[in-house]
Symmetry: C2
Subunit: 244 residues, 2 copies
């Protein structure tokens, strides 16, 4: 048996997230079904990250076991012939038998995009959060710097989520203007469920002046989800890259 690692890019618009669900179409289900046709046996993927409905990926990583003999370098092209065009296998390689896409991930980069043009852009409707209120990017960047390091992120975890250890380490974070787009980047060793989207929602409150930089620090310190802002919508979020 070989253990194969694939990097996937997908437009999450049409899917109920990455992870297989009983009654909803997910990226995992589609990829497993199409790979099964290529390899001639049932495929069970291990995904590195769950992405929610509407969230996108440039660099999702999965692994699976196969006894199939298809040369690994041919997998991307073979998959492209079978997958819908909103899912792409970017690369495939054979890895050690004990490689596990989720457990071995050392860090991940997420990016969140905010479109600030005065009028909605029909081509960005599924790929950015459209905000027309003025946002102070410099202030937002100062706040984003505050989350670097190791913190208890309870204030930014999904309400009612499983009681896992809420301490996470953010290696780098930045917020910058790129034309009419604000791009917010988080590079961390791990993320709580909805953590990036909850951080972005609260960051917007700082950008509009609804709360101050000190307020943000107090929310983080208080570990109180109710004090933080809204959950930013999914379509602005991109899983960029996973490091091993």
């Amino acid at each position: 048996m070989k253990n194969l690692k694939l990097i996937l890019a997908y437009d999450g618009t049409a899917y109920h997230g990455f992870q297989r669900q009983a009654n909803a179409l997910t990226v995992q289900q589609v990829v497993e079904e199409r790979l099964a046709r290529i390899f001639g046996h049932k495929i069970t993927l291990t995904g590195a990250a769950r992405t929610d409905a509407g969230v996108h990926a440039y660099g999702q990583v999965v692994n699976f076991y196969t006894g199939g003999s298809i040369p690994v370098e041919r997998i991307p092209a073979a998959a492209q012939g079978l997958l819908p065009r909103d899912i792409v296998v970017c690369s495939a390689e054979e890895v050690d038998a004990d490689f596990h896409a989720r457990y071995n991930a050392k860090s991940k980069i997420y990016q969140y995009k905010i479109y600030t043009g005065p009028i909605a852009d029909p081509f960005l409707r599924n790929y950015a959060w459209h905000i027309t209120r003025p946002l102070c990017v410099d202030t937002m960047d100062r706040v984003v710097s505050q989350v670097k390091g190791t913190h208890d992120f309870s204030a930014f975890r999904a309400a009612g989520s499983a009681p896992v250890n809420p301490v996470r380490t953010i290696l780098d974070a930045a917020c910058r203007n790129n034309g009419s787009m604000i791009e917010i980047m988080f590079w961390g060793t791990g993320f709580l469920y909805h953590m990036v989207r909850n951080l972005v929602g609260t960051l917007i409150d700082v950008g509009t002046g609804k709360i101050t930089v000190d307020d943000f620090a107090a929310i983080l310190a208080a570990k109180d989800r109710n004090a933080a802002g809204m959950t930013a919508p999914p379509q602005g979020l991109f899983l960029q890259r996973i490091f091993y």
Copy 2:
């Protein structure tokens, strides 16, 4: 009665082109139906340009007559509340009673996008033609320059299209690299049906070296559609702007 001019942007992916059809969903039908709800009476749009199924617009222009009293500056926001998110009313203004979006158009700019990355990008599947064969952009730009001026474009008109005067004037045209994207721009006083997509298809034959720059000149001069290349797929084409 007032004559109103709107600028529309739309993602053409989900529509069978701009112009109303009996048995297929078009941009015109959707906009007319939604505007009818805003104005309280039937709306008949005059569109400046037909765009085909899958072709996009940043600057389609339409006009229509209404006795309605809604302030013109409120129309974009009112439309945004009713239109699907793949169609946007960018601006609205009252114009002279005899303004006609199609007959008064002096020139139009179209852009065609070709994605040249080695692997398909799921986010560009509906917004560019993906070509992985090497393309010489400098040679393509030299060819594009040849179409500037007034020519008989019979070689690049749709086969079997209505026998209109095939002479058109191209005011400017250019082909440039923008990262992994090749952007081809045509600014002309008018275009034959499928003319831009037929020009692009033949241009690709020059870019790959299948035909030479001189071959292209001969095809244009020969006015023979059968000598030209394929019709480029619709998803790379954008109606950028219309001048009056």
